[in-house]
Symmetry: D2
């Protein structure tokens, strides 16, 4: 029997969070606003970053992640009430950046509601320029992903 | 003398809105949150849609635009107070979709703060499937852009 | 032994929801933004309304609830990560309005983080004026509260 | 001739900002979401605070304002497009707190759309307790208001 896209996603993305859709996440078109998906990506990216040892503390950081790009491909209109499961994986680490991929699964629709990706740069906030991803973060990301990158 | 990137953008994007950055647009990193840029894109996309004759009325639409994808490349960290100028252009209309490109200029930094794009699909909400972009919308977009597409 | 304020709240408020604090709920002061508490109140008010039979459907309603007033007393600064438990009760139903009270409990702080209230008016959107709370809603609210109002 | 409520507000509130309503400020009921009014209050409160010399810097503050309470009385349903004018005044300074009053005027409706107030406490973030409002802030607020408090 063919594996469902949800089962496939569950295996391919190592980090997951689950969030309820709020009534107020909906806009005047009567479905979840497009910016909310981007907030969901952020929420999961932060959890991934916690596990990978990013310095995500508020204010006064010297070195930390900065978001260089984000994209989202919307597949399903979502409405309240529902719960979304948001997955993240890192398929690639470059010298000073890493690419993260996102998936959103609707509990109610039992379907992938969106796919996306983020480019995260290791940033020296004092010098205002990218710096190499540390060996420690690289090792932790490989551990999360379960294979070398 | 070389044309600045701002002067260039001003010529290349036909639709503009200007918005003040709100203090509350900033997140715990102390700069404007990444989702706010996506909201700015939306705000300008809606204005473009008004001029192009999209049906953007709340609820009960039969046929209207639906956002299929969005992306944003973040170039500058923004902070309150500032004003952003948000431009949109449509470089291409397909059969049932159009591609819109976005630019965000920071008044204070006098620089391009972000670039992005949206894919907008002409959608039949009753049948839940894409339909052809109407001749009327196509004509209005070409008029806004100032050339055939 | 004295009953804690949390145990007391758990008894006095009949409707509860639990929500995780998102990293993005925090503002540039590094704690949860004041508007997020108001969104939490709304999220719980909507759940209460579902149970009480309010017509909260999007668009085109003839008669439905409208928010006339809201207030929030902030007691604790909240930060990510945490989970909040949000309670609602209706101490009073008037002719065309009802008063709802809100409480927010921080899981991590084990304390009441905020108290508030909403005034909800039964509204005829067509005539744009208040109308009497229906007997059906009145009965359901009394059932939720467990006593006559 | 009777003075309009707008003319009256214009005289009684010394600090004003103007903001466009965004399409995305609207919720599934098709009008501006209740939390947006609270964000507008915040935006004007911040401007008042700048003029009065509050330390509103991100992170690491020792002493600064903290919001203790907010309330909003909603008078008009607002929709996109519109511009709101948001006024603030301080009718009273206590020992360690001040009360700020808010008004929101709809450009399109030419009417007061909401009234509200905030309680702002002068807070020692290190000691986590209120401290006296400084003489400097008190003097600046009196100057803004145009009379002793």
């Amino acid at each position: 029997m063919a594996e469902s896209e949800i089962e496939k996603a569950r295996k391919e993305y190592p980090v997951w969070i689950s969030l309820p859709i709020l009534w107020g996440d909906q806009d005047a078109f009567g479905h979840v606003n497009n910016t909310v998906y981007i907030r969901w990506f952020e929420s999961c990216r932060i959890v991934y970053g916690e596990r990978a040892g990013f310095d995500q503390s508020a204010g006064g950081r010297d070195i930390g992640p900065i978001l260089a790009a984000v994209s989202c491909s919307y597949r399903k209109q979502l409405t309240y009430p529902d719960t979304v499961h948001i997955g993240a994986r890192v398929p690639k680490i470059g010298n000073s950046s890493l690419r993260m991929e996102h998936v959103i699964i609707s509990e109610r629709l039992q379907a992938v509601a969106a796919l996306g990706d983020s480019t995260i740069v290791s940033f020296d906030y004092t010098a205002q320029k990218p710096i190499a991803v540390s060996a420690d973060i690289r090792a932790k990301v490989e551990q999360i992903e379960g294979h070398p990158l």
